[in-house]
C-alpha cells in the first residue's frame, strides 16, 4: 500500500497523470492522500506548531484546487504544493512577526510539544531549538535537504534560487548549527 510517507516520485507521477482527465476535486483528493501528512510535517518543522501547519497545507491544497485548470503539467503538482507550503510558512512567520514581535518568538520550535517531547530526546530538542534560531532561509534549506531529502536542484527550484545558493546556504547553516551546538564543524 502506498501511504503518505512511502509514496515514491514514480507513484506520484503515475497517479497524477492518471488524474489529468478527472476533475480538480479528485486530483486534489488524491494528492492529499499521498502528501498531506508529509507536507504538514514539513510545515510543522518550519512554523513550529501543528495548527498553523495544517492551515498552511490546507491553503496550499485549496490554491491547487482553484488553479488546477491552469496547471500545465499536473506532474508538477507536488512541487507546486511544496512551494505553496513554503510560501505559506513564510507568511505565517511574517504575520507573527508583525503582530507579536514584542511578545512571542517568531518561530517556536516543535521541541516543546508533548508529542514531540515524548519522541525526541533532549539532544534532538536541542538540535531543533538550534535550528529554530537560524535565519528563515537556512532553516528552509535544512528542512528540505535533511527532512524531505531533496536534492540541491529540487531545493533550488522550490526556493527560486540557484544550486550554488542552496549549497552555500546549507554550508552556512551547518556551520552555524555546529557553533550553536557547541561544536566546531
Amino acid at each position: 500500500m502506498v501511504t503518505a510517507d512511502n509514496a515514491g516520485a514514480g507513484d506520484l507521477r503515475a497517479a497524477t497523470r492518471a488524474r489529468m482527465t478527472v476533475n480538480a476535486g479528485e486530483l486534489v483528493g488524491d494528492l492529499f492522500e499521498y502528501h498531506a501528512v508529509r507536507l504538514i510535517r514539513m510545515a510543522v518543522l518550519l512554523v513550529g506548531d501543528q495548527s498553523s501547519a495544517e492551515d498552511v497545507v490546507q491553503d496550499a491544497f485549496l490554491g491547487l484546487y482553484r488553479g488546477a485548470a491552469r496547471l500545465r503539467d499536473p506532474a508538477n503538482a507536488v512541487a507546486y504544493l511544496r512551494a505553496s507550503v513554503l510560501n505559506g510558512c513564510r507568511s505565517v512567520l511574517r504575520s507573527r512577526k508583525r503582530a507579536w514581535s514584542s511578545l512571542i518568538p517568531t518561530h517556536d520550535p516543535p521541541a516543546w510539544s508533548a508529542e514531540s517531547a515524548a519522541m525526541a530526546g533532549e539532544d534532538r530538542r536541542e538540535v531543533l531549538r538550534a535550528v529554530a534560531r537560524l535565519p528563515r532561509r537556512q532553516r528552509e534549506v535544512l528542512v528540505l535537504r535533511y527532512y524531505l531529502s531533496l536534492s540541491d536542484r529540487e531545493i533550488a527550484a522550490d526556493l527560486g534560487v540557484t544550486r550554488g545558493t542552496v549549497a552555500s546556504t546549507a554550508s552556512r547553516a551547518l556551520a552555524a548549527l555546529g557553533r550553536e551546538l557547541g561544536e566546531q564543524p
Binding site: A4, G25, E26, V28, G29, F32, E33, A36, V37, I40, R41, M42, V44, L45, Q50, A53, E54, D55, V57, Q58, D59, F61, L62, Y65, R66, S102, L103, I104, P105, P110, A111, S113, E115, S116, A118, M119, A120, E122, D123, R124, R125, E126, V127, L128, R129, A130, V131, L142, V143, Y146, Y147, L174, L177, G178, E180, L181, G182, E183, Q184, P185
Partner: protein
C-alpha cells in the same frame, strides 16, 4: 615512550557528518509527532464532493471546512482587504502628522533623546524569546566569573589512563590521548618508569597542559610522583617532565583523587598514608609557591572525586559522611567542600556538607566560581547502574537548581571532570568503552565510543 602516528581523520568532516545525522534524527523525531490520526484537516473528498457536508458544517471541525475556506477568499478579496488597506493608510497618515512630531518633541525636551533607554543609556531588553532557557542561563551564570556563561569550543582531546595487560601480577597502566570527536587514540605514553604506574590525571589550566600522578606498582614504598606535560596541536604529548613540587607523603589510590584549578596554580590530591590506622590526607599544593597544606582523614571517609574552583580557593570532594570516625560507614556518600586556606588538621574540623542524595552521590565537581556544584546522582536509587542524573546545586545552600542532563547506560561509580572553561563535562564510566561529553551551556550530551576504556580522564 611510544607515540603512534597521527590518525589521519578530518575532525571537521566527522563533525559535519554528525551534525547532519543529528539533523535527520531530530527532524524525523519531531515530524513523527504528526500522524494521520491527529491531523485535524478533513479529507478534501469529505468536503468538496459530499453535498451533505454543506448543510452540516458543524459536524466536523468547522474552522477547517474546505467549503467555508473556499468561500472565504471572496470575502477577503472583495471586502476585508480593501477595508484593511484603507484603515492602514488612515492610521499611517494620522501617525505621521500627529503622533510622531509630538513624540519627537517630547523626547528632545525631557530626556535628551534617551527616553526609550534604560539606566546607562542601555536600551531595555526585549521580552526573552525562550524563557525556559533564560531561566536556566540565569541560574548557570553564577557558575562563571562575572556571570558570563562561556561559549568556548569543546576540547579537541582528552587524556585518559587505561589499564594494560598485567605482567607478573603487576598492574600496568598507560596514558592515552583520545580525540574528543571520534574517541580514537591519537597518541599514547608508556609507563612513567620502572615499577610505577599511572593512577590519576588532571587538566592543568587552559593550555592543554596536564598533570599525572604515578604510584609504585608494588612493594612497601608509599609514594606519589607527579609529572606534567602538554599536548601539541595534533594531540601529541610534549614537554614531559617531573612536576617540581615537594614530596608527597602517601599514595594516591583513587583514579579521581587528583584535581587542578582552572588557573593552573593549585593542585589537590587525596592520598593514603599507608599506615596501620588507614589514615589518609587531603592535600593542596600551590604550584607557584610550592607550599603544601594537608588535612587528615580516617577510613572510611576516603575523599575522592576531587574538584577545585578556578582560583583554587575551594575544594570539593565526594566521601563518606562518617568524617573518619569509623561510624556509619555504610551511609551513602555525600559531597563536601573545604576552603583551601583552612588551617591544617583533621578534615572533619573544616569541611562542610553540600548535599547528600538517596542512593549516594556518584561524582561531583565545582563550577569555576565554586558557587554551583554539579553532582551525579542515581536517578533511580534501586537501579543505580542504568541511569544517572547530572544535577546543579547551589554550593552554599545545597539547594537543587535543576536537572542538567540524564546520563544513561553507565556502570556504578562513573567519574566526571570538567575542562578549564567549566563549560564541558567529560563523563567516563571506567568500565565500558564509551565516554560522554556534556555541554553545560546547551545541555547537549554526546556519546563517543572509545577503543580503550579510560579508568581516569581529563580534558
Amino acid at each position: 615512550m611510544s607515540m603512534p602516528d597521527e590518525v589521519p581523520v578530518s575532525i571537521a568532516d566527522q563533525r559535519l557528518r554528525e551534525t547532519e545525522q543529528l539533523l535527520r534524527e531530530a527532524f524525523a523525531a519531531a515530524a513523527q509527532s504528526v500522524t494521520p490520526t491527529v491531523i485535524r484537516v478533513p479529507r478534501p473528498a469529505d468536503r468538496l464532493e459530499r453535498s451533505w457536508s454543506r448543510w452540516l458544517p458543524w459536524v466536523r471541525n468547522r474552522r477547517r471546512s474546505w467549503d467555508r475556506r473556499l468561500r472565504l477568499p471572496r470575502l477577503y478579496e472583495q471586502v476585508l482587504i480593501p477595508l484593511a488597506a484603507a484603515a492602514a493608510i488612515t492610521v499611517i497618515a494620522t501617525a505621521m502628522t500627529v503622533v510622531v512630531p509630538k513624540a519627537f518633541s517630547a523626547a528632545r525636551g525631557s530626556h535628551g533623546g534617551l527616553a526609550q533607554m534604560g539606566p546607562g543609556g542601555v536600551r531595555p531588553a526585549k521580552y526573552p524569546a525562550r524563557p525556559a532557557a533564560v531561566a536556566y542561563a540565569s541560574d548557570l551564570a553564577a557558575a562563571y566569573p562575572g556571570g558570563h556563561v562561556p561559549h568556548a569550543a569543546s576540547p579537541r582531546f582528552f587524556v585518559g589512563i587505561r589499564q594494560l595487560p598485567a605482567t607478573s601480577e603487576i598492574l600496568t597502566t598507560g596514558l592515552a590521548v583520545y580525540s574528543a570527536a571520534t574517541g580514537r587514540v591519537v597518541a599514547s605514553v608508556a609507563q612513567p618508569g620502572r615499577g610505577r604506574y599511572y593512577q590519576a590525571v588532571a587538566a592543568l589550566g587552559s593550555d592543554q597542559s596536564f598533570v599525572v600522578a604515578a604510584t609504585p606498582a608494588r612493594g612497601p614504598d608509599c609514594h606519589t610522583w607527579f609529572y606534567r606535560f602538554s599536548l601539541g596541536p595534533q594531540g601529541r604529548p610534549t614537554g614531559w617532565a617531573p612536576l617540581a613540587v615537594p614530596e608527597v607523603t602517601g599514595e594516591i589510590r583513587y583514579n579521581n583523587a587528583l584535581a587542578a584549578s582552572g588557573d593552573g596554580n593549585v593542585l589537590a590530591y587525596s592520598a593514603s598514608t599507608c599506615t596501620q590506622n588507614s589514615s589518609s590526607q587531603v592535600g593542596v599544593i600551590h604550584l607557584d609557591t610550592r607550599k603544601v597544606r594537608t588535612w587528615s582523614t580516617l577510613w572510611p571517609a576516603v575523599p575522592r572525586n576531587l574538584s577545585l574552583s578556578a582560583n583554587g580557593t575551594l575544594l570539593s570532594f565526594v566521601g563518606n559522611p562518617s568524617s573518619g570516625t569509623k561510624k556509619n560507614s555504610q551511609v551513602e556518600d555525600a559531597v563536601w567542600t573545604l576552603r583551601t586556606n583552612a588551617a591544617p588538621g583533621p578534615v572533619a574540623s573544616h569541611y562542610r556538607k553540600v548535599l547528600h542524595a538517596p542512593g549516594g552521590v556518584q561524582s561531583a565537581l565545582l563550577s569555576p566560581t565554586g558557587a554551583i556544584t554539579f553532582a551525579m546522582t542515581a536517578s533511580n536509587p534501586r537501579r543505580p547502574t542504568v541511569s544517572e542524573n547530572v544535577n546543579a546545586y547551589n554550593t552554599a545552600t545545597g539547594r537543587p537548581l535543576g536537572l542538567v542532563q540524564a546520563v544513561r547506560y553507565l556502570t556504578d561509580g562513573p567519574g566526571f571532570t570538567t575542562d578549564a572553561s567549566g563549560q564541558y563535562i567529560l563523563v567516563y564510566p571506567g568500565s565500558t568503552p564509551l565516554i560522554q561529553e556534556l555541554n553545560l551551556t546547551t545541555r547537549r550530551l554526546m556519546t563517543v565510543s572509545v577503543p580503550a576504556v579510560p579508568i581516569a580522564a581529563a580534558w
